[in-house]
Homo-oligomer: 193 residues x 2
């Protein structure tokens, strides 16, 4: 049986994610991560390759998931306004649902060693270009009123990043409320309100 494999490894990854988010990558020690899952630091090496590898897994996994969500969102319609609405919805929900991953993904790029950093950066650029394209198409079609496509898409992307910083699943604002409000914000922002 090779089903439902390494719970242990997953636990470790989850603990690392939590600690990286709260204290940062460099300030988190292997001993800390071990303590969080009930073992000593060196024992972790029976399950993971290295501390850096833990970060790599988190960051590349995150970008892949985000890109996938984006592609799925824009593939469902060709109306520019609706495409942007769905992309923002996916963006916001991703940052709310995976706020730890998003948080670490945004803040620890500099802790990522070089073969991987470039790869993550490339995917992030691709994501950014995707949004810029959506805003551009909507403006082209006369559905948006924007002066700078670049500025507007930066603004929309930054809204999502912000969510990862303050959203709490057990807070007084539900994911739906946040998603609805923020898509509204984004559409108003590009003058499609």
């Amino acid at each position: 049986m090779t089903v439902a494999a390494s719970t242990r490894t997953d636990d470790i990854r989850a603990a690392a994610l939590e600690l990286f988010t709260r204290n940062g990558y460099t300030a988190t020690t292997m001993a800390d991560i071990g303590a969080a899952v009930g073992m000593r630091g060196p024992s972790l090496y029976k399950h993971v390759a290295s501390k850096q590898d833990l970060l790599v897994q988190i960051m590349t996994g995150t970008m892949d998931a985000l890109l996938a969500a984006h592609r799925a969102a824009v593939a469902t319609t060709s109306d520019p306004v609706e495409r942007l609405r769905r992309a923002v919805d996916a963006h916001v929900r991703y940052h709310a649902r995976h706020r730890l991953e998003a948080f670490v993904g945004a803040r620890e790029l500099r802790s990522l060693a070089e073969p991987h950093r470039e790869a993550v950066l490339r995917r992030r650029d691709e994501y950014e270009r995707g949004f810029r394209g959506l805003v551009h198409d909507g403006a082209e079609a006369g559905r948006f009123r924007v002066q700078s496509v670049r500025l507007a898409s930066y603004a929309i992307l930054d809204l999502g990043m912000g969510i990862a910083a303050w959203y709490r699943a057990d807070g007084e604002l539900s994911e739906n409320e946040v998603a609805w409000q923020y898509t509204e914000f984004a559409l108003r922002l590009v003058g499609a309100g």
Copy 2:
């Protein structure tokens, strides 16, 4: 003569700010900072108290300046829409002009030791409440159409944070262009467009 005091100390602070921004506080060594100003690590102690002190100066100085700019901006009028416009303008310009300070201020809170962290957090809360108040007043007066005052002010604040991440003084967008666009964004966002 006690005029035009420590150029040396200022140079060191500037170099530290630059390095903290690019590599993060923990990843920056005293030797790095020293090299940036042309001396060895230990020599820095003839000018500054400690590495932590460097961070403290940067972060508290930043929050004070931001709060001062905010107060000055909202003191100049009592019209809710205009007050928000000016507050956002100050917010955006501050984050563009002092992007390094803003960047470090947002990202290195966790590296700040405890007497000071609390103090910075308190001032940040105060700043946040200021914006929330502006949005609330405008909504109360029927000039804004917002569902959640809190969400709208978070969104506006996050826009500024984003600027600190990508703005470059020598980029293709001038401070004025960014400021005008972003105040427009903020006003559209609260439905005052």
